[in-house]
């Protein structure tokens, strides 16, 4: 690794100041992407800014009326074992248990997973179907954007220079809501998704009140397939509707062929995973308390 300096700001103001006054500064959360990329030379920096001690980035709090605030630097191990997450957003706890293995989960954050902006980021489709928004802070103030607008290309995000991701906000789950993210990997653990699909559904008297579907690893960014969810709204929650939505998701995918799989195979996986994720989400929505 090339020489860099290291700073540990204790406040948000100090952090945005450091990031905006050092053009090549990079935030460090769990380091599970950043340190690998600095070591390989894929990224360079003059200043590593450790954001783990900024209170806003460490917040993990839930209120039934307000929803969940998830600080960008909260490690997966904390999310996985949080009681409110397990009850209100079980699929989020599952994704936190899916990134890497134990050692990775003890360090890796969901904020870092999204900021790294890999098309395969496992947390992204789920955050999209949970209607998460991102709170960004920069030298000129804070702004909120929907999570589906955050990634703009492989490794590229909506963050402006000097800006950082502070936290996610997840609205409280509606009654009869269920969500699920599934991915396909040759190994069960410690592998990068060949394709992944997230589904979030709200049911009402046996029909879909609303639905959201998002895919990973089949486009330059995590892909929100808005039209698939819109199509489901008002349709009966049965196999026929689910299969049609899965075909819409498949048609929206723009995968590439690489060492993990061919484009054709990935398209096939999109349909299968979307169908299974929807089935699981529907099951959960039926079990959910009103």
């Amino acid at each position: 690794m090339k020489w860099f300096d290291y700073a540990v700001p204790q406040s948000l103001a100090e952090t945005t100041h450091l990031l905006s006054t050092h053009p090549r500064a990079r935030p460090l959360a769990g380091g599970t992407d950043l340190l690998v990329q600095l070591r390989s030379g894929a990224k360079v920096t003059g200043l590593v800014v450790d954001v783990k001690y900024v209170p806003e980035l460490n917040d993990l709090s839930y209120a039934p009326t307000r929803g969940l605030t998830l600080g960008a630097a909260v490690p997966c191990c904390r999310i996985r074992s949080d009681q409110a997450v397990r009850q209100a957003y079980p699929a989020l706890g599952e994704v936190a248990s899916l990134l890497g293995g134990t050692q990775i989960q003890n360090r890796a954050s969901i904020g870092g997973n999204l900021c790294n902006a890999a098309p395969s980021a496992d947390s992204a489709p789920l955050l999209i179907v949970l209607r998460a928004t991102c709170r960004l802070a920069g030298p000129v103030g804070t702004r909120e954007i929907p999570v589906e607008d955050f990634c703009t290309g492989p490794g590229q995000s909506a963050l402006q220079s000097g800006e950082l991701l502070v936290s996610f906000h997840l609205p409280p789950p509606p009654s009869h809501f269920g969500a699920c993210y599934l991915r396909f990997t040759p190994r069960n653990e410690m592998d990068i998704a060949v394709a992944g699909a997230g589904a979030g559904v709200e049911l009402e008297n046996g029909t879909f009140r609303s639905a959201r579907i998002a895919l990973s690893a089949v486009a330059p960014t995590p892909l929100f397939v808005r039209e698939a969810g819109n199509w489901l709204a008002g349709k009966p929650a049965n196999a026929e509707s689910i299969n049609t939505a899965a075909e819409i998701a498949k048609a929206a995918a723009k995968p590439i062929t690489d060492m993990r799989g061919t484009a054709e195979y990935r398209r096939h996986l999109c349909a299968v995973l979307t169908r299974r994720a929807l089935e699981a989400a529907v099951r959960r929505a039926k079990e959910a308390r009103a």
């Binding site: 020489w3 460090l28 690998v36 890497g100 293995g101 050692q103 003890n106 410690m190």
Partner: protein, 162 residues
Amino acid sequence: MTHTLTRVRTTINGEAVEFLCEPRQSLLECLRDILGLTGTKEGCNDGNCGACTVIMDGRIVNSCLVLGVEVEGREIITIEGIAQGGRLHPLQRAFLEDMAVQCGFCTPGFIVAVKSLLDQDANPSEEQIRQWLANNLCRCTGYDKIIHAIRQAAAEMQEVKV
């Protein structure tokens, strides 16, 4: 350009330790190259193999993916801190007796990782053990002997407690 080293104060295996390092040096490099604690191994240096596993504030991490400067004020336990009072830990004995060690390169990482599991859950199932160890690779043993040794050690530790 002159670069200044950073002073880091931390606790390693129960002892207060102070060292100087470059901000870019990993905890793994600091342990091995600065502090002479070479029990922790470097396999992949990118987070995949778990040979560099240490316990930081009660949680296992890959020391190749932690900066030395990040451990200021933290508590670290390495493989050197697992045996107590000159006696091998039951896990270490079981690994030896059950031949869960072949070349031995992965062994410190496995033992540190499992020590931390057994501290939380004295009687994990085989599935829990395997899941916990997804981030630890062994290219020699085929894992079965490792799992056997761990279950052996866990059983022995429970007997001692009763």
